[in-house]
């Protein structure tokens, strides 16, 4: 295995090995650059992945202390992973693209009060070829010649109900899950445990795709269980290296440039916690925007007790999509739109989710008909608000001795209006098939999509990063995760994170060639 010296200042350091970091690190290595990837979590073997949600939750999930005020759970506001592969271990693999109108959010939606809506500094035309590359890379179904996944029960119910409601843009979705054997990985066996890590490796996770491929180049060193705490600057104002904690020891690695892909909360914490005379508000924060405009998409569910058996646990979690409500149609009473897809629950998670609302027969009548349940997940656009922000707690410290991140989040009235509409739309779908009972479930899932806290833009006073994700303030410091998103769009973020990381790798490569990095 390749090992780089701590004094080697020609290496690129990538912080995080998830969607953003895993792809950027691999792409840089493929292009001939030396990369050290620092990852806070452990490296699991395929044999560590079992079909047990509770066990995998313990193995994968980021459980270091976090706090929240406002709407989220005060102790568990964000659901992500701390392991090699990052949250591509938990993720369900849906890979929609941003719609062009969503990338022109300010132009499309107008001035929505109390938001900082902007148009993306990257145009839809500019990102399109990067989406193509990302889809090929991840083997996204229904794209670039990859067949769709086969329709299963939960999806068939959604589709049948949706068609009765007049929806037409429906299929098994664009998924980073192999529909055919490809890339030395099998096709999906319909295990039904996608959020517990895919035990057969059909779902794209950087743990067994990007990381080993990068290692094969001989120019990539992954260092697991290395929690980065410091980013050091040289006298020229450029990053000179990073400091991390490994088995209780403090280690410093020199670097030519650094990219942070810690998934928004950790990226923000790292920047804010590295203030200095030159960067009194935190690293790269002359705009004061680091941590602000935090966005997360609402995630609500509707369940139907259907007239026949469904067995919704028997397939991919996210098994298909209805896209008809994605568009911007202000006559519905809100800006932007949402996607409708499927979701299953184990009996335990279903029960826990339902006891938020009540106990007794209301609950057990639904559980008694577990095999007749169909479930859908509705996720929609979340406009950026300055007041939704991540800060550092002044006194509370986590197990590393680092300030605990505090997330403040409240729904915008636009989000509340969209949710109300979405619940009704979801209910209609199951009622159209004669559901015995329809249950609307609230926005209780901790955030799975995190965006916005180091937005890209052309103006250094109104954004943290350039349109290539380099911080305006520090010439060799990059961000490579959802923090870059100026707006959230009405769809899952990861394909866009990957597309931007691939584009960033090309930019870095050119900067090196031009002698600027």
């Amino acid at each position: 295995m390749t090992q780089f010296s701590l004094d080697d200042s020609s290496v690129f350091v990538v912080i995080g090995s998830g969607a953003g970091g895993g792809v950027l690190g691999n792409e840089l290595a493929q292009k001939g650059h030396k990369v050290v990837c620092l990852e806070a979590g452990r490296r699991l073997e395929m044999s560590d992945i079992v079909n047990d949600e509770a066990e995998m939750f313990g193995k994968l999930t980021w459980l270091d202390r976090r706090m929240a005020t406002g709407k989220p759970d005060p102790n568990f506001p964000v659901w992500g992973c701390k392991t090699v592969g990052g949250t591509t271990m938990h993720w369900t693999g849906a890979c929609p693209r941003f719609e062009p109108h969503e990338m022109r959010a300010r132009t499309t939606y107008g001035a929505l009060p109390d938001t900082t809506l902007v148009d993306w500094p990257v145009t839809p035309e500019e990102i399109a070829p990067w989406y193509d590359k990302a889809e090929v890379r991840m083997g996204v179904t229904g794209r670039q010649g990859m067949p769709f996944l086969p329709p299963g029960n939960n999806f068939k119910v959604l589709e049948a109900g949706a068609r009765k409601c007049g929806y037409t843009d429906i299929d098994t979705h664009n998924m980073a899950i192999n529909s055919i054997e490809r890339d030395d990985r099998p096709s999906c066996h319909q295990l039904g445990f996608c959020t517990s890590g895919c035990a057969v490796g059909a779902k794209w996770s950087t743990l067994y795709t990007e990381i080993p491929k990068a290692e094969e180049t001989g120019r990539f060193e992954l260092r697991p269980e290395c929690m980065v705490t410091g980013i050091e600057l040289g006298p020229d104002g450029r990053v000179s290296g990073v400091t991390y904690l490994h088995q209780g020891k403090r280690v410093t690695q020199k670097a030519r440039a650094v990219a942070v892909a810690g998934n928004v909360v950790e990226t923000t914490r790292l920047l804010l916690n590295n203030s200095s005379d030159r960067h009194p508000q935190g690293l790269a924060n002359s705009s004061g925007l680091v941590g602000r405009n935090y966005m997360r998409h609402f995630t609500i569910q509707v369940m139907g007790v259907m007239p026949g058996k469904v067995h919704f646990h028997r397939q991919t979690h996210l098994a298909g999509v209805v896209r008809d409500e994605r568009g911007h149609r202000p006559e519905r009473g809100f800006a932007g739109g949402f996607l409708i897809s499927t979701v299953p629950f184990t009996p335990e998670i279903l029960a826990k989710n339902m006891i938020i609302g009540g106990w007794g027969r209301d609950l057990t009548e639904v559980l008694d008909k577990y095999d007749q349940l169909a479930g859908m997940l509705l996720t929609g656009e979340d406009p950026p608000q300055l007041s939704n922000r991540i800060t550092l707690h002044p006194t509370e410290r986590d197990g590393y001795g680092l300030p605990v991140p505090v997330i403040h989040y409240e729904d915008h009235p636009n989000t509340i209006a969209m949710k109300e509409y979405a619940w009704k739309a979801g209910r209609r779908i199951y009622e159209a098939l004669g559901a015995e009972n329809v249950i609307e479930m609230g926005d209780y899932i901790p955030a799975t999509h995190n965006m916005g806290t180091a937005r890209m833009g052309d103006d250094p006073r109104a954004s943290v990063c350039t349109p290539f994700g380099r911080t305006h303030d520090v010439a060799n410091l990059y961000i490579a995760d959802g923090s870059l998103f100026p707006t959230a769009g009405g769809c899952n973020p990861t394909l866009t994170i990957v597309a931007l990381a691939l584009r960033q790798a090309q930019h870095i490569d050119r900067e090196v060639a031009a002698g600027r990095l």
Partner: protein, 172 residues
């Protein structure tokens, strides 16, 4: 019949990431492995509470007693939790003519409704949901089939076997 169930927040913030498998909960297997605890004075009322909160016609009294026993054995290690639980049982037992466990179901339901915001009850139903719905017998009863990787997944075992949908809505 349709109704909206869960936007009425009974348990509210205590939901603590309800969608997540198991925050701060020990795996059931670890508990099941310990020998069945001896019945304690709290068991009948605890079992009756679990039965009232999670009434399943297909589960018998012994099942609820077993779950109650495991719950009591767990909280026995935490004096504060046990004290709170006992305080709750005293509220239920003390406010009627007969002990809670001996009351008719309807009466039990109305009593629990009166106390369902109390910490003892929230703690019991949260852990109770795990004790009950992580049990293989309950999985079988409701038709959940659990780990599938050892059987090659559901691809050959009914992932798309639905047969009652209107023809137009089936697979494309």
């Amino acid at each position: 019949m349709t109704f909206t169930l869960t936007r009425r927040a009974v348990v509210g913030k205590m939901a603590l990431a309800a969608m997540l498998p198991a925050i701060a909960a020990s795996p059931l297997s670890a508990i099941a492995a310990t020998s069945t605890p001896k019945p304690t004075p709290e068991e009948p009322a605890t079992a009756a509470l679990l039965h009232t909160a999670f009434p399943h016609a297909r589960l018998d009294a012994a099942f609820y007693s077993g779950a109650a026993g495991r719950y009591l054995a767990e909280i026995a290690k935490d004096p504060a939790a046990m004290a709170e639980h006992r305080r709750g049982l005293a509220l239920l037992d003390g406010s009627y003519i007969a002990p809670f466990a001996q009351l008719p179901e309807m009466v039990r339901r109305s009593m629990v409704a009166r106390y369902d915001q109390e910490p003892f009850f929230k703690a019991l139903i949260w852990r109770g949901a795990e004790l009950i719905y992580r049990d293989a017998a309950v999985w079988k009863m409701v038709g959940y089939e659990g780990s599938s990787v050892e059987y090659g997944g559901y691809i050959e075992r009914g992932f798309d076997d639905i047969d009652w949908l209107p023809a137009a809505g089936g697979a494309k």
